[in-house]
């Protein structure tokens, strides 16, 4: 491999890792809900994109950072609505019921977006989109660096919320021992709803950052982000927030690397093989104790 190829390889890795922040944010949402309720919310990525779409109503009124904040808040509201519709009144001990209800919600959100926008991509505001940082032969996109840093801020904020607030304490308690938490006087339903709101805030941020990184919003984004979010959640470890963060960056980087080395037709095969390898060799994910064989 000559120098030019090495540079391109390194650049692919850098671009992929920066883009992987959006995967981390989506993965955090999936893993947060699984960690607390031991259930998967399949509509999470779609709701994140939906929040970004709804924040478009603010675009002509306020600057971009306020649009992003709006997307986060709308994501929180959507998260609460999804909890109410798909989880609150469904039997807790029937995991298939909530799985199917969230699959239905995913399809409903996607169709709603397609119908309301006629399937046309919508421009989404990006900060620093014309800023590029050149370091020698390397080229860093200003908007991706901003997305990366905002993603890091969101993750730190989430960690602080979970570790330093009563809501975070309640969330962790319900995640570990829901019966004991209830016996201690915690309202499990309220805590679960709060978790969905927190996850929704992250999701809205993720949707906004995905839109900002790509420059447009499109209904085409919901399904691939759902798949990537699930891959990140499994690789990071179900219920592990640090795992989702690291796994998102790994999946983003690996995806670009595979594409550089093997082309776009084989890229997704290798990503799935990577997932398969984790499921076989380390089923608990990156941040879990390695599982033994039965």
């Amino acid at each position: 491999m000559d120098l030019l190829n090495l540079i391109d390889l390194a650049q692919s890795l850098i671009d992929g890792v920066l883009f992987g922040t959006t995967y981390s944010l989506i993965g955090i949402g999936f893993t947060l809900i699984f960690g607390v309720m031991h259930k998967i919310n399949m509509s999470y990525a779609a709701a994140s994109i939906g929040a970004a779409y709804l924040s478009l109503m603010l675009v002509s009124l306020v600057p971009a950072p306020v649009v992003y904040a709006g997307a986060a808040l709308i994501g929180g509201v959507l998260g609460w609505l999804i909890y109410l519709i798909c989880f609150r009144f469904l039997p807790i001990n029937n995991p298939l019921a909530t799985l199917m209800s969230t699959v239905g919600m995913l399809l409903a959100i996607e169709e709603l977006i397609s119908h309301l926008t006629l399937g046309m991509p919508q421009n989404y505001p990006a900060l620093f989109s014309s800023t590029n940082i050149e370091i020698g032969q390397f080229f860093l996109r200003g908007d991706l660096i901003f997305v990366f840093m905002l993603g890091c801020v969101a993750m730190v904020a989430l960690t602080l919320l979970l570790k330093r607030t009563r809501l975070g304490l309640a969330t962790r308690a319900v995640a570990q021992q829901p019966v004991a938490a209830q016996l201690c006087g915690m309202d499990v339903n309220a805590t679960n709803a709060g978790t969905f709101v927190i996850a929704g805030l992250m999701g809205g941020t993720a949707g906004a950052m995905a839109g900002a990184a790509i420059g447009v919003l499109s209904p085409l984004m919901t399904l691939p982000l759902t798949v990537k979010g699930l891959v990140v959640t499994v690789i990071g470890g179900l219920g592990s927030i640090p795992g989702a963060i690291v796994a998102g960056l790994i999946v983003g980087g690996a995806e670009n690397l595979f594409q550089f080395m093997r082309g776009v037709s084989e890229r997704d095969i290798y990503v799935m093989l990577m997932l398969f390898a984790f499921l076989v060799l380390r089923p608990g994910g990156l941040f879990a104790a390695p599982g033994g064989r039965d």
Binding site: S12, D15, E111, L118, M120, A213, I214, V216, L220, V264
Partner: protein
């Protein structure tokens, strides 16, 4: 007359009037043209705009008195458009559903080439072949543009432009007017039938017209990150870049090209990207993009048709795809009248046969940009021109001799 009697009389008169109206409605003849295509999903705009164009055409025809059927009576033209979601299985189901209707003589569609290919595949291959149990139902396609599909069945007819001819012409034009351009790099949406097939044509024509093909970049319809592909493009530094992709990924690539400061001397796009979607998504980055197209509002017919579609629904526009649907409705009505198609349940199979033969015997049709020729393999030879993105609009760059 007592109050009670007056009330009864009024009610009786009202009931009689309602009955007459209902009876009149029931007696009003209708002739239905079916359509099917992608009305939902990410390419839903194509089917929605085709439906709007068909309804606009029907409104014009009905304003002039409707369709004259084989028995001399007049019928109101009705359009019914079904959704196949750009999915092959659903397209086949929709066709079977349409063919089972006893008021379905012909249908316009489908939108997607990946639907058209299997749908044409279930039609009877050779008309009149008793050993072939394929569906005997004429289809007149407006959008699905992958080359050569009509040859799959003698019941399949298309009114789509020949992309082979258009790209041959555009690269001949480039060779003549831009002789300084020497090298070519291609970009292709690999998992979409139309863009993938057309890229083969683009690359061949680029090569045939003296451009050195340096290579190509590939991506998928759902991709959102094009940094690798554009970096390949940047390294190649070709004079001409062709992007064989639909608006979403075309815009993604164009934006990445702007970021990485990749500025080829000429960018050529895919026919399907000569739409408002591209200009709305990335008007600034698409500046200068040249695309061959079979529709632009450059004739009175074309302008009136575009206005008629906007009258149906202001959110819809006319482009090369739904312009064909608009033309198809007029062509089919003309054939119904000339071939005395009855449009009755008891004559339905005979009507379909007549329609097929009428479509097969057409030598030319009337298009919005001029006469449309017909080939022996049931394809169209449509007039076309080259449009260029300029200041957020598509302007005519060149009208080649045809």
């Amino acid at each position: 007359m007592s109050r009670r009697t007056r009330t009864l009389a009024t009610l009786t008169a009202a009931a009689a009037a309602l009955g007459l109206a209902a009876s009149a409605q029931a007696q009003e003849k209708t002739f239905k043209i079916y359509g099917f295509g992608a009305k939902s999903g990410v390419v839903g705009i194509f089917g929605q705009q085709s439906e709007a164009a068909m309804q606009a055409a029907a409104a014009i025809i009905n304003k002039s008195g409707g369709v004259t059927l084989g028995d001399g009576s007049k019928a109101r033209l009705v359009v019914e458009y079904l959704d196949d979601r750009c999915n092959a299985e659903e397209g086949i189901n929709v066709l079977r559903r349409i063919a089972s209707q006893n008021d379905a003589v012909v249908a316009i569609g489908p939108t997607c080439s990946n639907v058209a290919e299997p749908v044409f595949g279930i039609l009877q291959k050779k008309a009149g072949d008793a050993s072939d149990s394929g569906i005997q139902f004429p289809l007149y396609t407006d959008v699905a543009a992958k080359g050569g599909l009509a040859s799959l069945s003698q019941w399949a007819f298309r009114n789509v432009p020949s992309e082979a001819n258009m790209y041959k012409s555009i690269f001949e034009w480039v060779k003549t007017t831009r002789p300084e351009l020497k090298t070519f790099w291609g970009g292709v949406e690999k998992d979409f039938a139309h863009s993938n097939a057309t890229f083969g044509v683009i690359k061949t024509q680029a090569d045939s017209n003296g451009l050195q093909v340096l290579g190509q970049s590939e991506w998928l319809l759902n991709d959102t990150n094009f940094s690798n592909q554009v970096r390949e493009m940047k390294r190649a530094n070709a004079d001409v870049v062709a992007i064989s992709a639909h608006p979403f990924t075309s815009c993604g690539v164009l934006k990445e090209m702007a970021r990485q400061n990749v500025k080829p001397k000429l960018i050529v796009g895919l026919t399907s990207s000569s739409s408002m979607e591209t200009l709305q998504g990335c008007g600034a980055q698409a500046e200068g993009l040249v695309i061959p197209t079979s529709f632009a509002p450059v004739t009175d017919d074309a302008k009136n048709a575009a206005a008629a579609v906007q009258a149906v629904n202001p959110k819809y526009n006319m482009d090369l795809h739904n312009a064909a649907a608009f033309e198809n409705v007029f062509t089919l009505v003309d054939l119904v009248e000339k071939n005395k198609i009855m449009g009755r349940a008891d004559t339905i199979q005979a009507d379909r046969q007549k329609m097929r033969e009428a479509l097969a015997s057409m030598k030319e049709t009337k298009g919005l940009l001029g006469k449309v020729g017909r080939t022996d393999d049931r394809e169209a030879v449509k007039p076309y021109l080259f449009v260029q993105a300029k200041g957020g609009n598509w302007v005519v760059a060149h009208t080649p001799k045809q």
